[in-house]
């Protein structure tokens, strides 16, 4: 009985780690086939890029403004007013919006909107045996389907990160105005704290989020099984695993960035 209980807990864990390993392998394959000629994926790359752009720009706009205004904006302003230090909101937005919330909100929206679409699309093709047919006709699904999605999602998340932090900061401005404070001090503390490291750190991090989402969602789509219900399961798992991956990666990235760039630890 002890053995079967252990089996029941170990088997899913082993399965999970096997999948993570498979995704690592897929990442390697994707990068290799992205750089090794020929390059047949240009058209698909543009399609996927525009597709993600068209699908995500509006949800992302709403999410970032609302989140920036509501969460770090109103809450932090409320707290800062206590010390009569509302001008510090600008500095806080460097930490909150640029470093963390803009990439995170971008990733969440991208995974939920574009990632699920990728998994559902590839999953349906897998179930209809289209992927098998492609392979038999000499088309490598990694090179022709995964690589363009991988590159498109990385580019889109990188660009959307800037878009998200602009609208996030706009949320902060709204919060400042709601407290009837002038914007000068906001910008002053904002720019004393902001550094180039913050910007490229944010964009790089968000680009990596895009890579994680693309690999997880492609993997889950291409390994879907069990009919239409199986595609549904795959989409669900793709979102869950994407989020887990993003949060885990965020920890490692933030820790590393802070350790290698101690100057951004200092709040001015």
């Amino acid at each position: 009985m002890a053995r079967s209980a252990a089996d029941r807990t170990i088997a899913p864990a082993r399965d999970f780690f096997e999948q993570v390993g498979d995704m690592m392998i897929l990442t390697g394959k994707t990068i290799i086939s992205a750089v090794r000629p020929p390059f047949p994926y240009g058209g698909e790359f543009i399609l996927q890029f525009l597709f993600a752009l068209r699908l995500c720009w509006f949800p992302l706009l709403i999410s970032t403004v609302a989140f920036g205004y509501g969460a770090p904006g109103l809450q932090a302003a409320n707290f800062l007013v206590l010390f009569g230090a509302l001008d510090r909101l600008g500095g806080f937005f460097v930490l909150a919006s640029i470093r963390e919330f803009a990439p995170l909100v971008t990733a969440i929206v991208l995974a939920g909107v574009a990632g699920t679409a990728i998994t559902a699309d590839l999953g349906a093709r897998k179930i209809r045996e289209e992927l098998d047919a492609l392979q038999v006709l000499g088309v490598d699904p990694v090179k022709n389907l995964v690589v363009p999605r991988f590159l498109a999602l990385m580019l889109v998340t990188g660009l959307f990160d800037i878009y998200a932090l602009l609208f996030g900061i706009f949320g902060g401005i709204l919060a400042t105005l709601v407290y009837h404070a002038p914007l000068g001090p906001f910008w002053a503390t904002f720019f004393t704290n902001a550094s180039v490291t913050d910007l490229w750190g944010s964009v790089l991090k968000c680009t990596c989020y895009g890579a994680i989402i693309a690999i997880v969602c492609c993997y889950k789509g291409m390994t879907a099984s069990g009919g239409a219900a199986g595609v549904g399961r795959a989409v669900n798992q793709a979102v869950v695993i994407s989020f887990l991956g993003i949060f885990a990666f965020n920890y490692v990235f933030t820790q590393t960035l802070l350790a290698t760039h101690p100057e951004i630890n200092v709040i001015r």
Binding site: D132, V136, L137, G138
Partner: protein, 294 residues
């Protein structure tokens, strides 16, 4: 606590003990009572060979020591109840699945041991009709059928369209060229998949149930078409079906697959006159015999 351990804890009823013993002891023998594995010679070399192939998905063992040879230049049929692994066999031939044990040879080359580029080359020999047609949902029928030509040949667009239209006409889809796959019935998708599989005049053609979902008249016409095209092009054709009428019409070689192994294989006439009870039952479509619902 698992089922098995529950049984271990309780005193075993005599009747149950008997049942357990019966299940365990002769199992292997009993299960393969009808599998003579007899392979009657055809006098031609094999285009595709399965050598003691084992394949399991998790604990679900599908192929259990499959030995099968499909002769060059003939229309072969693999017959067997649904769910026995016929589609799995086809995927082994084109290297979409790899055997856990054993070997699959195509024209003498071991498919599981090919490097990626070699596999890519080898697949050019094949035309495959998948069970549900496997048309590309993002392309219309013309583009679907033209896909292999664009992928593997340098023909001009005019030539390609000429060939594609001829192929679509053969399967009665002349007017459906600009339709998307999801606008078609299952039978039409199947026929389009058929056209796509044959568009490169491949050496080896695999049809996975080309006749399921077609009406009897269209099935008969499709069988004639397979025979005609085979006469023109030659090559090793493999058709998977459970339609005995189709088998009687076109098969030159028949292999009966059940429980992961070949029950019996050989030239069609000889199999139709086989004295193996299972083969007789299956080829006459009778309810009486060793094969039940299970």
């Amino acid at each position: 606590m698992s089922e098995q351990e529950k049984k271990d804890d309780q005193p075993i009823e005599p009747a149950e003990r008997v049942r357990v013993v019966q299940e365990a002891a002769p199992g292997g023998e009993e299960e393969y009572r009808w599998h003579t594995g007899l392979n009657r010679p055809t006098g031609v070399p094999d285009a595709i060979e399965f050598i003691d192939v084992h394949k399991a998905f998790g604990r679900n063992k599908i192929l259990k020591g499959l030995n099968l040879g499909l002769p060059e230049g003939k229309i072969s049929m693999i017959l067997g109840p649904s769910g026995t692994g016929k589609s799995v066999c086809i995927k082994h031939m084109v290297g979409l699945l790899y055997p856990d044990d054993g070997d699959v040879l195509v024209h003498g080359e071991s498919v599981p041991n090919l490097r990626d580029e070699e596999l890519f080359e080898m697949r050019k020999k094949f035309g495959v009709l998948f069970q549900d047609g496997a048309l590309f949902g993002s392309m219309n029928l013309l583009d679907n059928v033209a896909f292999p030509l664009r992928q593997h040949t340098d023909r001009s667009e005019d030539e390609i369209m000429g060939i594609v239209n001829a192929r679509l006409a053969e399967v009665g889809l002349t007017d459906a060229g600009d339709k998307m796959p999801n606008e078609l019935s299952g039978g039409m998708r199947k026929r389009a998949g058929f056209a796509r599989a044959l568009v490169l005049d491949p050496d080896i053609v695999l049809f996975d149930e080309p006749d399921s979902g077609l009406d009897p008249v269209r099935t008969a016409l499709l069988c004639e078409l397979i025979q005609e095209i085979h006469q023109e092009n030659g090559g090793a054709y493999t058709v998977i079906t459970h339609d005995i009428m189709s088998a009687r019409r076109v098969a030159e070689y028949i292999a009966v697959l059940w429980r992961g192994r070949i029950v019996e294989a050989g030239p069609a006439e000889e199999l139709f006159n086989s004295d193996n009870d299972f083969v007789r039952q299956f080829l006459s479509g009778s309810a009486q015999g060793p094969l039940g619902m299970e």
